[in-house]
């Protein structure tokens, strides 16, 4: 059911990418192209030289899609995610989210965008060390406008931390912290979820559980972008975008088509 819908969206996306490249202004429909990157590059000046993290990346992601960004370390995955999440600005190119350009948007707009449109799972968790697991998740809910203790509790139960509600991050294992971070992002209810290596610290069983959860959210209409260097995880996605040295080298459904998370092995 879900896979069909998402696959359809993905195909439409591919079609756009092939047929209408460079015509971002043409106005994609509301259900398509929630995220649109056009010729986005990002480079850093370090010392005397420049490090290029992303080169001429064009990408469209439709709403409800579960996209995996795959690539070796240093290939620019996190950079791409940061750009989509408006934590970073491109050196050149344009980024359009839900029809609105975010490169060059005002600070206030960017803050509102981050508050209302995206939510992050960081590669380094970044939980508040002085708040408990539950409070960290509540924070996510509150910022996005809700203040529902039960929802926060349910989000933690969903990630399998029902018995860790009142633990502080320092008392949690890496994987547990990661799941709190995921719950904090999910509970915002924002339409776009950006997850940087969300299963990096997880064992197989938990990892599958989390992926399943992300899949459910995608099925419910949220756009989920997951960064990983794990090809096995990529198999569960609707679509895999592969990066290498800052360039998109492949974009399409995983080889053999999307696989059910229960069949993954790593």
């Amino acid at each position: 059911m879900r896979n069909q819908k998402l696959r359809g969206a993905a195909r439409a996306q591919e079609g756009d990418a092939l047929g209408e490249a460079g015509t971002a202004g043409a106005g994609p429909g509301p259900h398509r192209d929630v995220i649109a990157l056009d010729s986005v590059s990002r480079s850093y000046t370090v010392g005397g030289g420049t490090v290029t993290a992303l080169t001429d990346v064009s990408l469209r992601i439709a709403s409800g899609e579960l996209v995996v960004i795959l690539g070796p370390s240093g290939s620019g995955k996190s950079t791409l995610l940061n750009l989509i999440g408006a934590l970073d600005v491109p050196t050149s190119g344009t980024i359009t989210i839900a029809g609105r350009r975010i490169d060059g948007a005002s600070r206030a707009d960017l803050f509102r965008y981050r508050r209302e449109s995206v939510s992050f799972v960081f590669q380094t968790f970044n939980l508040f060390p002085t708040l408990t697991a539950l409070e960290n998740v509540e924070f996510g809910a509150e910022v996005a406008g809700g203040r529902d203790r039960d929802r926060a509790r349910r989000a933690l139960v969903d990630v399998g931390l029902a018995d860790r509600l009142h633990h502080f991050p320092g008392q949690l294992s890496g994987g547990e912290q990661q799941r709190v971070a995921i719950a904090r992002a999910l509970v915002t209810g924002n339409p776009i979820l950006l997850a940087d290596e969300p299963t990096g610290e997880l064992d197989f069983h938990t990892g599958v559980q989390i992926l399943g959860l992300l899949g459910e959210h995608a099925a419910a209409g949220r756009t989920v972008v997951v960064v990983t260097h794990n090809r096995e995880i990529a198999r569960a996605a609707d679509r895999v975008v592969e990066l290498s040295s800052g360039r998109v080298v492949a974009d399409g459904p995983p080889p053999g088509g999307p696989t059910d998370v229960r069949e993954l092995r790593w």
């Binding site: 965008y113 981050r114 970044n126 508040f128 409070e135 509540e138 509150e142 502080f168 320092g170 008392q171």
Partner: protein, 810 residues
């Protein structure tokens, strides 16, 4: 080693703002110590040099009041001691008490004073020479004309011209040719004990011949100053002089005293030690605050390195070697602080030097760099931050490696303080500031203590100023509560109340009302304790002005006395207690003897000086002085200015001095001027200290929360919200620190005033008082500045590189 140095230097550079702030705090502490303490050495050196340059006498001989002998005979008698070669110079002098009218075109200046007549001998043969601050000193030719020099303190206080003229008793016009310093008058003591009195006491120096002619006593002397030859034993000469002079003038009271035993001379040197005690305390307090600040920062730096220390320990590096890097940081802060401290000390010393020069004008001021003092200050400045580093380092290397490696530095040991469990209401963003405080209680406590230390010093130092002013205000209020325009008219001698002198004053056209009182010296004793007093006998019930009597008790048949709180304290008595009063009793028309009477303390006067005491005029009977007066209180007629009344009464026969009643508080104000000026300088340093500490804790906080802030930004929490949280967190610490600081400051002030001040100012009873303005300043610095300090980080927050801040793995 160089790698380690470079590493720790990089640690410091990463936090250079805090490092510089702490170095400044250390500098303030060590600089205050070195700068203030240097002045002690400077004063000692300068006093010595000034006394030497002006060839101060070693021994002075005074004849009892009203006695005169032939000048030449007196000098010859002195030189008749065994081995007269021990005397380098012996100078007979004539001291004449007088009224001095130095009024200028727009100011009435009428003060008591004295004319000091001495032979004009300069150079090596001289003794008690003068140094001109303006105009010139007396020359040999000045003996033949009524020419004088005037004491610099008085002239300077009233901004008199370098040369001019004054009128002295007997309506003599006396020209002066210069404003001078003379070693006996480096400090000016008035009629009323050891209060500084340059505002109301004028000393004029003239030739012996001129003084004799002004006093109408040709050839007479009533004082002798002696300088001993180099190498002679002063106490022996003193003893021999006493024996010789007592034998030579058996019917005249002769008092022989070494200069070193002189009260003014001693007070100059004693004050050095007393002031040094204050400096030490100020410096120690500031250094204590610096220690907290250093402890805070190095603790934080060690905390940040905890992981690396853990890795090192896991790799088997001995803790000693791991401790070197953070310890080096402590040393580097200390060195930077000490270097800055030398500059700070030099600046403070410079400021203090100019205050001192203004306060104790001397012919010679020597202000050499005090290497030893600065070395001690540097040692303190080095030791304190290093000591503050040792504890956190020691703690860090004792942690089990497994704990050190865990992420989340704050909770590395997985233990959660009980406080952190306290449930808090409100949204998580509202809770976060409090959670942060509760979750890291040690950090919170050290920050709060740092703020408290600064506020304690602020309250202690400024509170002292407040207390002084409160004391003066209280005195003003008491004295001026009724008939504020009244004048105190001292008569030249005891006269019957019906005498022409009194009647003349009463009937003067400028006088609306008057009272005849008595003022005499006495001593109160209780057991072994004794207090010199200036007794004022007035009509306690219906006088023109009557003292407020606190804790009043009935006299119960004994003569009653109202004394100051300080006197009661020093005597160990309280209202209702009975003490012994040694007082003069009239035995004939001009003869008196001292007797002792039991008197009852019937209350306490709010006046702060120890020596004030009041008795009812009816008690004059025990002194045999019923119907006799020597001082009057006069209220000028309305429409007559106090100045005009002063001038008119000054011209009346039998009047020794006329002073407005405010004169008393002016003299108290003067007495306190020395410490007030020092306090002002220290206040500046303390304010800077408090601000630095406030800024530092905010900036440490901002750095520490950078990651949290980046996360909030990623979640779209706007900068103002994030700042508000930081402000809340700072404000809570500010409130706690300030509250604690105010309490500790109050205790400190109490201690300073009850323990330290009495040694420096035995004659004053200061009540501790903290002005609302001071509390406002404390709140302003401790709460407002601390709370607002995060605003300084707005720019840094706005420019934050969010991805980089988020990416760093702790």
């Amino acid at each position: 080693m160089t790698r380690l140095l470079r590493w720790s230097w990089r640690d410091l550079r990463a936090r250079w703002v805090q490092v510089v702030a702490i170095a400044f705090i250390v500098a303030l502490g060590s600089g205050t110590y070195s700068g203030l303490s240097s002045t002690s050495a400077w004063r000692r050196l300068s006093y010595d040099a000034s006394y030497r340059q002006l060839r101060v006498d070693d021994i002075h001989v005074t004849l009892s009041d009203g006695s005169f002998v032939d000048a030449a005979t007196l000098a010859a008698a002195a030189r008749s001691i065994p081995q007269p070669g021990r005397i380098r110079a012996a100078q007979p002098r004539l001291l004449v008490p007088t009224q001095v009218d130095a009024s200028t075109a727009n100011r009435t200046i009428l003060v008591p004073g004295r004319i000091v007549g001495a032979p004009i001998v300069g150079g090596a043969a001289g003794v008690d020479l003068q140094a001109a601050k303006a105009g010139r000193v007396l020359r040999a030719g000045d003996s033949s004309a009524p020419t004088a020099t005037i004491d610099y303190h008085f002239a300077h206080h009233f901004a008199l011209p370098a040369a001019g003229s004054v009128t002295v008793s007997g309506n003599h016009r006396l020209a002066y040719v210069g404003q001078v310093l003379q070693p006996e008058y480096f400090v000016i003591t008035g009629n009323q004990g050891n209060l500084l009195a340059e505002a109301d006491y004028a000393v004029l120096f003239t030739s012996l011949a001129q003084a004799q002619s002004l006093a109408g006593r040709p050839g007479a002397a009533n004082e002798l100053v002696v300088a001993v030859a180099p190498g002679a034993d002063v106490p022996r000469v003193e003893q021999d002089l006493r024996t010789t002079l007592e034998a030579r003038f058996p019917d005249v009271g002769v008092k022989v005293q070494a200069r070193r035993a002189d009260r003014d001379y001693r007070s100059l040197y004693d004050d050095i030690a007393n002031d040094q005690r204050f400096y030490d305390i100020f410096a120690i307090l500031i250094l204590a605050a610096a220690a907290f600040a250093a402890f805070n920062l190095t603790g934080r730096m060690v905390e940040a390195q905890r992981r690396e220390i853990g890795i090192g320990m896991a790799l088997g590096v001995p803790p000693r070697r791991l401790a070197v890097r953070p310890l080096l940081a402590g040393v580097e802060i200390a060195v930077l602080g000490v270097v800055l401290g030398i500059g700070m000390g030099a600046l403070l010393g410079y400021l203090m030097g100019s205050v001192l020069r203004g306060f104790v004008p001397l012919p010679v001021w020597r202000l050499p760099f005090q290497a030893g003092t600065f070395a001690r200050g540097a040692a303190l400045g080095l030791l304190i931050p290093i000591a503050a580093t040792i504890y956190p380092v020691w703690r860090a290397v004792r942690v089990a490696p497994v704990d050190a490696i865990r992420t989340g530095a704050l909770t590395a040991r997985g233990r959660v303080p009980l406080l952190a469990r306290i449930p808090l209401p409100g949204r998580t963003t509202e809770q976060l500031p409090f959670r942060n405080l509760l979750r890291a209680p040690r950090r919170t406590v050290t920050t709060v203590l740092g703020i408290a230390a600064a506020i304690t010093v602020l309250i202690g130092v400024v509170g002292m100023t407040d207390s002084f002013f409160a004391t003066i205000d209280r005195a003003d209020q008491e004295l001026l509560k009724s008939s504020p325009r009244r004048l105190s008219v001292d008569l030249a001698s005891f006269v019957p109340v019906a005498s022409a002198t009194v009647t003349g004053i009463r009937q003067s056209p400028v006088v609306a009302g008057s009272a005849t009182d008595l003022r005499l010296g006495g001593t109160l004793r209780n057991g072994t304790a004794h207090v010199d007093t200036l007794l004022q006998l007035i009509d306690l019930r219906h006088g023109i002005w009557t003292p407020t009597i606190e804790h009043a008790r009935p006299a119960g048949g004994l003569p009653g006395i109202v004394i100051s709180a300080k006197a009661a304290h020093d005597l160990g008595t309280s209202p209702g207690g009975v003490v012994t009063l040694r007082h003069p009793q009239r035995t004939g028309v001009t003869s008196y003897r001292y007797v002792q009477s039991k008197v009852r303390v019937i209350g306490i006067t709010p006046l702060p000086t120890r020596y004030v005491a009041f008795m009812d005029l009816r008690s004059a009977s025990i002194m045999g002085l019923t119907g006799i007066t020597n001082t009057m209180v006069v209220v000028p007629r309305s429409g007559v200015s106090t100045g005009a009344a002063e001038r008119a009464l000054f011209g009346q026969p039998g009047v020794a001095s006329v002073q407005p009643v405010q004169g008393y508080t002016d003299s108290v104000r003067h007495e306190l001027a020395r410490i007030l000026d020092i306090l002002l300088i220290v206040e500046g340093a303390v304010l800077l200290l408090a601000l630095l500490i406030a800024f530092n804790s905010a900036s440490i906080n901002a750095d520490e929360r950078a990651r949290d802030h980046a996360t909030m930004f990623a979640f779209g929490l706007p900068v103002p919200r994030v700042i508000r949280m930081a402000v809340t967190e700072s404000a809570v610490m500010g409130v706690l620190g300030t509250a604690l600081g105010v309490v500790l400051g109050w205790l400190l002030l109490g201690w300073l005033i009850s323990d330290l001040l009495p040694r420096a100012y035995p004659d004053l009873g200061i009540v501790s008082h903290i002005a609302p303005r001071t509390l406002a300043t404390a709140a302003g610095v401790g709460v407002l500045a601390v709370a607002m300090a995060p605003l300084l980080t707005i720019r840094k927050l706005r420019a934050m590189d969010i991805p980089s801040t988020l990416r760093v793995v702790e």
